[in-house]
Symmetry: C2
Subunit: 202 residues, 2 copies
DNA sequence: CAAATATTAGAGTAATCACTCAATAAATCA
DNA sequence: TGATTTATTGAGTGATTACTCTAATATTTG
């Protein structure tokens, strides 16, 4: 039971559209006029709801985190085969951050850009979501060790960080238009860090 | 023996300054006025010499490739211990693409941004230089196999691509302000892909 | 010294930028 | 109904953008 005139637009749809635009062209290259055009919002409505271009960007990043990051965490935490969950995480890199102008990863772009000039810079959101994924990855690997799927001495934090770094690299490689085989090789390397079933190790 | 008045400015210095600015703040966020201010060039001189903001960017990328990429290739090709050369390449990731606003990698940023709207987009330069490093990495690994430093069956192309992808990831992680331990772990993983002397494997 | 060539400084331009305002429309509450 | 609250609309604002023009200066070669 909200008080005044209800909004005409679908907020999540606006954020998804904005996120896609920002991902494809980068924050600075996307104009507010273009965002209005793509989302259908009138300019004043956009400012009324989001306050700022940066505000819209921040909310779009958050929405992206909820739709792209959180499900990955959930998938890692679900199921009773932790090692397989991590393997699936690695295998989806290509699909998720694959090539083409529509590909890539908004967080990767935000972090690579890295403004960090004022305190609540947009990349803080990317960092926060990444930190959560990092934690989930470590926890899942720890479960895999506990289940005997990985050697007892495995340094789970090191493996998790290596996988995450590799994932960022895949996003760059895919977005940058490097050969797709590079991504395949990165996936294979990620899997080999989990115990060498990729085929190349030994 | 050029005919008229020689240029007053040091071209390489201008390009280095521009590259540093573009790396720190991104292409779109840097204004031409700011570039003039930082390089000391008059605006008309900049346009006379580089034609365009994009032209300056392209030449700055090229200069960056020559100063940051080519030496890495040279280091890989020099010396008679190919495996050690690759290991050193991996170990310098942290120093080269390390944290902070001044850190990161211009190519990584260019590729993550990925305009690719018109044919000779700036990221083509980044792609070309990366392709050369990729080739050099493979060749050096092949030499290491030939020298018996790596197992005979090693898929050198796969290892090279994994290392390169990891390197891109390191640049993102460093620039994005993630914990420095992530980079250490990525370096360790890179080394372990070369035969597990990092300490974590087995 | 003179002619030719290049660079420079500074003002200036059209376009685009992010952003705002005043008025109106649609909902709820009394 | 009438008052209040919120959202939409469309035109408009000053600042900044990349870029250019003109006039003058500096430095070479012949």
């Amino acid at each position: 039971m909200p008080r005044g005139r209800p909004p005409k637009f679908d907020e999540t749809q606006v954020l998804d559209t904005a996120a896609a635009l920002f991902k494809r062209r980068g924050y600075d290259a996307v104009s507010v006029a273009e965002l209005c055009d793509a989302t259908g919002l009138a300019m004043a409505s956009l400012y009324h709801r989001f306050g700022d271009k940066a505000g819209l960007y921040r909310e779009a990043l958050d929405r992206y985190g909820r739709t792209a990051n959180d499900p990955q965490i959930a998938a890692l935490e679900a199921g009773d085969d932790p090692l397989d969950a991590v393997r699936n995480y690695v295998r989806q890199w290509k699909r998720h951050a694959g090539a083409g102008p529509g590909g890539g990863c908004l967080f990767t772009q935000a972090m690579a850009r890295g403004d960090r000039t004022h305190p609540d810079a947009p990349d803080a959101t990317a960092r926060a979501y990444t930190a959560r994924l990092r934690k989930a990855l470590s926890a899942t690997l720890r479960r895999a060790v506990a289940a005997g799927q990985l050697p007892a001495g495995t340094e789970v934090a090191a493996v998790a960080d290596a996988l995450l770094t590799l994932a960022f690299g895949v996003a760059v490689v895919g977005r940058g238009g490097m050969p797709g085989s590079m991504i395949d090789h990165a996936v294979a390397a990620g899997l080999s860090l989990l115990g060498g079933d990729g085929g190349s190790e030994r």
